[in-house]
Structures are given as C-alpha cells and as structure tokens.
C-alpha cells in the first residue's frame, strides 16, 4: 500500500522541503497567535469585551 505513496512522493523533485515549509507555516502561525494573545494588554481586553454593553449605560 505504502509503496504507491512512496513512488509518487519520490517522483517529485525536492519534496523533502514541503513538509518543512508546512510545519514552519503552521507552527509560526499558531505560536504567533498564542504569543500575541497572551501579551495583549488587559485594559484593552476589558474595554473590548465590554463593548456589547456600552449602549445600555
């Protein structure tokens, strides 16, 4: 079963770089996301999360 996959994979030049590129994109996207979410200023957060209630005064 795996040999079919292997054959297709082997026939693509420089394929080894693709998983690395994918990993880098995903890893940096999610790590970046987490980093800035947790570095976000508390005052900002409490301001935005109260926005739905601003009209109620």
């Amino acid at each position: 079963m795996l040999k079919f996959v292997k054959h297709t994979m082997e026939s693509i030049d420089g394929i080894a770089i693709f998983p690395i590129i994918s990993f880098v994109i995903f890893f940096s996207f999610f790590v970046g996301l987490l980093v800035w979410v947790f570095r976000t200023d508390k005052n900002y957060l409490s301001h935005v999360e109260s926005l739905p209630f601003k009209e109620d005064n």
Partner: protein, 711 residues
C-alpha cells in the same frame, strides 16, 4: 468625553424587517422540509406534479433554510449588533433597503426557478447564473453598507463579532464567485467551467465552506454578541475568542475534500481534508466552551429564561456537530456515513440545533426590546423550547439508526461470498419506519415554530415599535495616532480594510493549495482513451437528469469497496468524468448508484426504463421513487442541441465542428433507433421526440466507456 457628544438614531426598522423575513422563510423552509421528509417514504406526496417532486423540493428546502431562513437571521443580527457595537446608524438606509428587498426577491425567484427545474445540480449552489449574478450584487451591497458603517464608527475598536462578520462577507464572496463560474447556454441554463474531479473539488470546497462561512462564522458573531447581552456579562474569555477566530478561519477552508473520501479525487487532497477536519475540533470547541462559560454564575437564570435555554442548546448543538464533523471525516467512519442518512442527521443537529435555536433565542430577545415590551408568554416560549428539543432528538436519532442499518445491509456478504442484500430496495424498505419517525420529529419541531410565531405576533401587537432609537456617543477623533507600543493586532483591527485583506489571505491559502495542483498537474487526473463525449441525445438526457434532480437520490460514484464493486461494478476512475460539466457524483443514496447503469453487469432493457420512469413500482414493487409520467409527454428541446454542444466545445469537450453541425440530426437518428427498439420490446406508444428517450439514452450510456477500453 461629554463635551462633543453626538446624537444619532439606530435604525431598528431594517432589523424588524429582517426578523420578520427570518420568521416567514423559516416557516416556509421548514414546511417544505416536512414535505420532503414525507415524500421520501410516501412518493405520492409529490401530488403527481413535476414541480413538487422530491428532486426539486429537496433543493428548495435546503436553499430556503440556508439562504432564506439563516440568511435573513444573519442580516437581522448583523444590522442590530453592528450599529450598536460601532455606535452609529447604518451608513445608508437606502443600501439597507436594497439589501433587504434584493435578498427577498432572490429568494422568491430561487423558489420559483428551482421548482420549475432550473438547476445547476451543484448542492447549495443550484441556482442558475442570472440568480447567481443577482446574489453577487446584493452581497456586495451588504458588504459595502457594512464597511461604510465601520468606517464612520464612533468606537475605535472592532468587537470580535465584527471580525466574524467581515470574514463571512469576504469568504462567502470568494466561494460564491469561484464555484459559480459557468458558461451560459441560454437564459437560465449554463454549464460550469469545471468538469469531473475538478468540479467536485470546487463544489465541495464551496459546499463545506458554505456550512463554515454562512451557517457558522456569522452565527458565531451573533453568539459573541447576543449571548453576553442575554446573560448580562462579558464573554468568558476574549483572548479565547481571538484564537477561536483566527484558528477557525485558517483551518476551515481546507476541510472541504472530506466530502469526497474514497472518491476518485487524488488521495493527497483527501488526506489534507481529513487532517484539517481533525484539527478543527480545537477552535470549534474553544468557541463552544467560550460560549457556554459565558453563562458562568448565571446558570440559575437558565431555569426561567427561554432565551438562555435556546442559547445553551444551540451552543451545545454547535459543540456536538463540530465534534461529529471531524469524526465523520475519518475515512473509516466516512465509509459508513457517506451516502447514508447519518449525514442528514448530522447536518440537522447543526441546522435545527445551532442555527435554529440561536435564531429563536435571538428573536425572542430582540423583538420585546425593539417593541418596548415584555415577551407575550415565557411559558409558551419554554413550551417551544421543549417541543423543539424533543423534535431534534426525534429527528436525528432515527436517522442515525437508519444510516447504520443501511450501511450494514449494503456491506453484508453471505457465507458463500454473495451480497446478502443484492436488491438495493431491500435496504430502503428496511429503514422506512425510521423515515416515518423522522417526519414525526420534524412535525414536533415545526409545531414549536408555530408557537414561536404566535408568541412573537402577540408580543408585537402588545408593544410599540421604536423605528429610530436615540443614542449618544462622542465622535472619534480623526487625529488618533496610536502608540508605537500598541500591539500589532490592535493596529489591524483598528483598520477594517486591512483586517479584510488578512482574512482573505488566510482563507485563500487553503483553497489554493488544494486546487492549484489538482488543476495544473496533469497526472492527477489520468485520462482514459476510451472515454468519449456524450452523443447529442445523451447530452440532452443528462440535462433532463439534472433538471429532475435525480442526483439528489442517486450517486454516480462507486467507491473502491468490495461490496460496492460487487453491487455496481468497477470503482469509478477520475478519467471517466473528464467531460462531465457538471459532475454528478451526488452525496446521498436514497436509490442505487447509477455510475454504471448501462454497463453489462447492470444494464436493463429500454422498456424497463420506460416503464420504470412511468411508474417505478411496476418494475420495483415497493419502490419509493416518484413517478415521472411527464417525461413521456414532454418533447426534447432539440433546438438547444447545437448551442449546448458548442458551449461544451468551448469548455474543452472535444466535439468537432462537424459533430456540432450535425448534432440535431444525429440526435434524431439515435432517438428513432431507441424508439424503434422500444416498440420491438412491446412499448407501442414510444415516441422518438419525447424526453424519456433522451433520458434512456443517457442512462444506457453510463459506465459503458471503460468496457470498450477493456476490449
């Protein structure tokens, strides 16, 4: 702050209009749903009319619920919350009205044209090209009004709900345009530019993301606004909502190929779809937890408040269907669910639970507010809640049962190695009781909706509507520079256009990675020498197949399983569908697969098909297929043959100019031949000019090409 307070008015009228439209189309869409639920086991419920036969009413139901009910629900919630979150009236009342009346006109035109048989056959994108253009225009009007409103806002920061609205707008626009690309044959008839595997890939990239970006992201926006409002406390974690948003839109767009597992779509694309579907559990459950935990410390109020009850069940249904979805994307599970009623059960947890209940909760909360009164009856709303919840269970559980039962019957072999249930019909009659129970569930749910309509009507009558609600807020200072230490996200999110572009880039990555190689790499779709374009008569027959919506019950995709190959013949190769504009793989088997209906293994006589279309039970006693007597009296539209072939040629189907020129005559020759054979077989009334002849020609052609290559 107070020195430059500006006075302005929120436009409640547009919100009220959309809320009424939501209720009206909800009733219509669910009523049609009830009709199709009965028709599936009582075919006579089509009233013997072509317009009300399952193949046309089923797309009407799905379109009505998705675009009319939920669509208007989206607009209701967006028009209410956007104004308040941005502290401004909508930018243009005129655009709001164009959005409203344009959308309602599209719905009416959609309903009429679908019942008349104008359809592209592509699920949730059945509407023909002039309607598609109208949808694009109205959607742009909505986006234009939304962005102009965002630009003139009095609140600098965009609340997370608005991000969901922006992503919805941009993604739905991309999905709709890419999937609807087609070449018109005439007014109300077109062929998609994609064929076969590529058409299937684009269609399910669209189909899956219609669920993601029409039924999910806008409603998540509504959840992030209305749940905190109803609970009177901010969202559990705003940080989590940021992660929820970006992770969801980043991952969702890749998941479409999980609708095509075990088909002839290239394996790597299938795997990609599975991997992303599994990852989707994380942001989806993050969102569900965020919604449910917003109730923290307010759970006691759920006992009394019908609104909160609806929200809790809606969010729970979101959690359940977003857990079930990834599960269904696993190949081994998908083998069971695909083509069976499991999928139908799954989508209804989402539609009835998540979309339906969130809409009811939102409207129960909104109407009393805008009418300055209390809800007419909490008791009635609670009754609606319980009847609706029980209705969902009665709807879904029998269908789960039906899905498993039917699959187990499909794949069962006797000790001697034969199919245990070689007659497909046996596996349908077995689950008829489940279909009956499902229609009971649907009736219960609909009864709840009637209580809802009554309750809202009484509330409206008791209250006084405030069309323009006064509000005050300081203007935004245009000189705001921000500071260098500002977080970068706060910068993008202050700039809505940049936000739109970021969201666009994120969703384009997934679509591009899946589609570009499938379109460019030739080896992804191996060609088969013996596969030839349809004859003119077969082409017309195929269009009749599409018009009657046969693909709603019959797949044309044999999966590489022992039981499917045994039942239907050789599994489907991608090269076999290269001339199929559109593909007709289908997604549900209420009847057997037809990919090889004309093959030696399955071939029936012309007269069998003739009699079967006139009255299916005459050939298959107990069949639930409706009758198609009109095919015997309606004449083939041979006038369109030349144009149809010419358009196909433009799309890459190798018809020669001579073939196109002689198309009409060739059609007649083949039709005469079939009619003569029918008469030989005892069908004296066979008339070569009738639609039934074209349909028979098409059905007899299916699956015959690769037999020629075997020779």
């Amino acid at each position: 702050m107070s020195e430059n307070l500006e006075k302005f008015y929120y436009d409640n009228k547009i919100v009220k209009m959309f809320a009424y439209a939501t209720i009206l189309w909800g009733v219509v869409g669910m009523l049609v749903g009830l009709l199709v639920a009965f028709q599936i086991y009582l075919p006579a419920a089509n009233f013997n009319l072509e317009f009300t036969t399952f193949g046309r009413t089923r797309p009407l139901h799905t379109n009505a619920v998705i675009f009319a009910f939920v669509g208007n629900g989206i607009f209701t919630g967006v028009y209410y919350s956007l104004q308040r979150l941005l502290k401004t009236r909508m930018w243009s009342d005129k655009l709001s009205m164009i959005n409203f009346w344009g959308w309602q006109s599209i719905i009416v035109v959609a309903a009429v044209t679908l019942l008349m048989g104008f359809t592209t056959s592509k699920e949730y994108a059945e509407l023909e090209w002039p309607v598609d253009i109208a949808i694009t225009i109205i959607w742009v009007v909505f986006g234009w009004n939304m962005f102009a409103t965002i630009l003139k806002r009095r609140e600098r920061h965009l609340y997370v709900a608005i991000w969901f609205y922006i992503a919805t707008f941009v993604t739905v626009a991309v999905l709709h345009i890419v999937n609807s690309l087609a070449f018109p044959v005439s007014f109300m008839k077109s062929y998609p530019v994609y064929a076969g595997v590529q058409d299937a890939l684009v269609q399910w990239w669209y189909g899956h993301n219609a669920v993601a970006f029409f039924l999910t992201t806008p409603y998540l926006g509504l959840m992030y606004y209305f749940v905190p409002k109803a609970v009177k406390r901010p969202v559990y974690s705003y940080r989590l909502s940021i992660i929820h948003f970006w992770a969801l839109i980043f991952l969702y767009i890749w998941a479409g190929p999980h609708h095509l597992l075990y088909t002839s779509l290239p394996g790597w694309v299938q795997t990609l779809g599975v991997v992303f579907s599994i990852m989707l559990i994380a942001p989806s459950w993050g969102g569900m937890i965020n919604g449910l935990l917003t109730m923290r410390g307010a759970w006691d109020r759920v006992r009394d408040s019908a609104v909160l009850k609806f929200f809790v069940v809606a969010i729970t249904a979101y959690g359940m269907s977003t857990f079930e979805g990834p599960l269904l994307s696993l190949k081994s599970v998908n083998a069971i669910s695909h083509f069976t009623d499991w999928t139908i059960a799954h989508v209804h947890i989402g539609a009835l639970g998540w979309n339906g209940f969130l809409t009811f909760g939102m409207i129960y909360w909104l109407i009393p507010r805008m009418f300055k009164t209390e809800l007419h009856s909490q008791k009635l709303a609670n009754a609606h809640f319980w009847i609706g919840t029980i209705g969902i269970l009665f709807y879904a559980l029998p269908l789960y049962w039906a899905g498993f039962t039917q699959y187990l019957m499909w794949q069962e072999f006797t000790a001697d190695g034969f199919l245990a249930y070689p007659n497909f019909l046996e596996t349908v009659t077995q689950i008829k009781p489940m279909y009956a129970m499902r229609s009971v569930g649907g009736t219960l749910y609909f009864t709840g909706v009637l209580l809802f309509v009554f309750n809202i009507w009484k509330t409206v009558k008791a209250g006084t509507f405030e069309a323009n609600e006064a509000a005050e807020a300081p203007a935004l200072t245009s000189s705001y520079e921000g500071s260098l230490s500002d977080h970068w996200h706060r910068v993008i999110e202050r700039k809505p256009i940049r936000m739109l572009i970021f969201a666009l880039v994120v969703i384009l990555i997934g679509g591009a990675v899946e589609m570009v190689p499938t379109f460019l790499v030739k080896s992804n779709i191996p060609t088969i020498e013996a596969v030839k374009p349809y004859t003119p008569l077969e082409l017309q027959g195929r269009d009749i197949y599409i018009k009657e919506g046969c693909n709603n019950c019959h797949s044309q995709m044999i999966r590489p399983f022992r039981h499917e190959v045994e039942r239907y013949g050789e599994y489907t190769k991608s090269g076999e569908t290269v001339y199929n504009h559109p593909h007709l793989w289908g997604s549900k088997r209420t009847g057997p697969d037809l990919a090889r209906e004309g093959s030696k293994k399955l071939r029936k006589s012309h007269s069998w098909h003739f009699n079967h279309m006139y009255d299916p039970t005459s050939m298959s006693p107990g069949s639930v297929m409706p009758r198609y007597p009109w095919l015997l009296s309606k004449t083939i539209d041979n006038g369109s043959t030349t144009t149809k072939m010419a358009v196909m040629q433009k799309l890459g189907v190798p018809y020669t100019d001579e073939e196109i020129k002689s198309g009409k005559a060739d059609l007649e020759v083949q039709a005469e031949k079939i009619a003569a054979e029918l008469q030989e077989q005892g069908v004296k009334e066979a008339d070569a000019s009738k639609e039934i002849i074209a349909l028979i020609a098409y059905l007899q052609r299916l699956g015959t090409d690769i037999e020629k290559s075997a020779k």
